[in-house]
């Protein structure tokens, strides 16, 4: 018999130990959540802040009081042409509007020939590039370029805005006086300005070598194009495979060879789900860029989309399988009992009932595809591309690639635009996942 006092102390000690450890367990969870929050805060911290700017020409002097980014395309084009030499204006017209020209002959061709898709005054259209005046160039610029592009040109060419130094959001909020002092000391000519690196123009502008001007337009469009192709290929094949495995392979008695083959397919899919994504990139490089290069034209959006489709295929299949399995057997029984064929049962009862689960799984797969970078690097994302994608055979870049490239650049301003791009990426993912949750809730209510 254990002495009463000893036993009691022993229990107390064990209980204290228990409480200690329970705090550790809780603490682990909290640490993970804190890490997550820190991650988001770090991103936000860099996406906004203060910059010290210098101008050659103060933008305020160019307008009548309205902010520069609210002017119309005509007004912006006028500012451009009236502040630059005629020669410079012509070069801008050549590089940003005409873009594709024959270097040997373009100086002799009439403007209308160089811009076949533009409507120009007859008199203007007949002139060659070298004879155009500033007044004639301005409307062409206004007609061809977006206000975002024109704004950027004004800032680059006329204002010649430069970042002297920059500070993060936390510094801005907590140590603003220090920023002012630093600025006065080291950059007395610099104008301090609060800057949101994430703004509307950021979304509409393609990448640039200057952090101030850079935007995610090409990357965002690239991501959307790639995702479109990915879904187009991965969704039907994935659902088809899941339907096959759950409804056709499992049901009914089959030869042993058949069962073996089906087991092989299933094990194989689970293994594929665990293969590192960079290996899919290498697969894409070998198969889509090289082997099928004639079909895909090499390092194009099509190759990228197909590679990502293969990447998320296992995820979609596994999720769709679970969704299909969740449909109660009684529904199938009732359908077969009425003399429906297998495909009729699957297409009219099973798939509609499994739809919410399948959609959720698809969106999860798509989320993954949106965030994946490594495969795209290997397949060959373009390092510097400023034109919007025009079709399946365009060169490509994507949001996460853009983040990667900007993060790797030495200038600290590119960290800020990288953070802004991350915010765009996260918002995109958030909306995708929110849609998944909403859809799933709406449809599962219908079922029960």
């Amino acid at each position: 018999m254990i002495e009463e006092g000893v036993f009691h102390n022993n229990v107390l000690r064990r209980k204290r130990l228990g409480i200690l450890w329970s705090r550790f367990y809780f603490g682990s969870l909290i640490i993970a959540i804190v890490a997550l929050i820190t991650l988001f805060l770090t991103v936000v911290d860099q996406a906004f802040g203060t910059v010290s700017l210098s101008f050659v020409v103060d933008p305020a002097t160019l307008t009548d009081g309205r902010p520069l980014d609210q002017l119309s395309t005509d007004e912006l084009a006028d500012i451009l042409t009236s502040n630059l030499s005629a020669g410079r204006s012509r070069i801008l017209l050549r590089d940003y509007v005409i873009v594709n020209y024959n270097a040997d002959t373009y100086t002799k061709q009439p403007i209308q020939a160089l811009l076949p898709n533009h409507t120009l005054d007859l008199a203007v259209g007949e002139k060659t590039l070298g004879t155009l005046s500033a007044e004639e160039i301005s409307p062409i610029l206004a007609q061809s370029l977006s206000s975002d592009a024109l704004y950027n040109l004004v800032m680059i060419e006329v204002v010649q805005e430069q970042v002297l130094e920059s500070w993060t959001l936390s510094k801005t909020v907590f140590e603003y006086n220090q920023i002012v002092a630093e600025n006065n000391e080291e950059h007395p000519e610099g104008v301090l300005q609060f800057r949101s690196w994430l703004n509307a123009r950021f979304l509409g502008t393609p990448m640039a070598s200057d952090a101030l001007k850079a935007g995610v337009r090409t990357a965002l469009l690239g991501s959307l194009w790639i995702i479109g192709i990915t879904i187009f290929f991965a969704l039907p094949v994935g659902i088809g495979a899941a339907v096959y495995l759950e409804e056709y392979a499992r049901a009914g008695s089959h030869s042993r060879l058949f069962n073996l083959a089906n087991n092989l397919i299933e094990t194989n899919i689970r293994n594929l789900a665990g293969v590192p994504s960079i290996i899919y990139g290498m697969l894409g490089l070998f198969v889509f860029v090289r082997l099928l290069g004639d079909l895909t034209q090499g390092r194009t959006i099509l190759s990228a989309g197909l590679t990502m489709a293969l990447l998320i295929l296992p995820v979609i299949i596994i999720n769709a399988q679970e969704a299909i399995r969740a449909v109660p057997y009684s529904i199938r029984e009732a359908s077969y009992g009425m003399g429906a064929t297998r495909w009729q049962t699957v297409s009219r009862q099973v798939l509609p009932a499994a739809l919410p689960g399948i959609m959720t799984g698809t969106i999860l797969g798509v989320s993954r595809a949106v965030g994946e970078t490594a495969p795209l690097i290997v397949v060959g994302a373009a390092t510097f591309i400023v034109t919007d994608p025009t079709g399946f055979f365009s060169q490509f870049t994507a949001l996460p690639i853009q983040v990667y490239q900007w993060t790797s650049l030495p200038q600290v301003e590119f960290r800020y635009v990288a953070a802004a791009a991350i915010v765009v990426l996260l918002i995109l993912l958030l909306s995708l996942n929110a849609t998944a949750i909403v859809l799933r809730n709406r449809y599962s209510r219908r079922l029960s």
Partner: protein, 269 residues
Amino acid sequence: MTSHAHSNKAVQLNKVSIYYGDYRAVKDVSLDIDRNKITAFIGPSGCGKSTVLRSINRMNDLVPGAHVEGEVLYRGRNLYAPDVDPVEVRRRIGMVFQKPNPFPKSIYDNIAYGPRLLGVKDRKVLDQIVELSLQQAALWDEVKNDLKKSGLALSGGQQQRLCIARAIAVEPDIILMDEPCSALDPIATQRIEELMKDLVKSYTIVIVTHNMQQAVRVSDYTAFYYIRKQEIDGKELRWGELVEFGKTKQVFDQPEQEETSDYISGRFG
């Protein structure tokens, strides 16, 4: 082919044995199901009555490894002949299950499912079929104002009547019912029993029930199944066999087999 359309035998089972793989679940069942009559299968749990029922519309095919010996004759054709399509069989021999299983769709779509499978597209025709079926299943008055309501939103008894309406929407010859009332309360059960007596005027009904009183109440014929056991090589084999079959009145009042009278009087089972 001789015409059997007017013969009074809907289905004939000749020495039907049902196997799952190597395991024989039911041995040598022979009986005739009369047209436009209610035949009840009774017996203790595990005696194979549901298995026999499902063999009539080839629902056992859905179980991997199931196969049947003997003949199941329907209108003179052996349903298990190699050139017979189970899908076609099930269009003519419908089934209602133990737990009501309406589709997760509207009442209308539940009933229209069968006709749509057959290719009916005309909305007006479907409307009529839905109404007729619901009327036959004694559910029309309760749901006629909201056919778009989900089938799952009905009560248990209503759901089962919905399933019956769904089954008869394609005008089957025979309706098989596998313990249709066991998941329902007594009032709902009573309604369905009344319904059966109505339906049997148009269809042949075979019902599996573990409730002997129900068999007495509704059926014209009764088949009593029981479990047989045998020890071979130290392992105990069990299977189901048909013990007695005849008019209900006779089976319950003057059973020929001792096992039958024992079961009915409640001495075992």
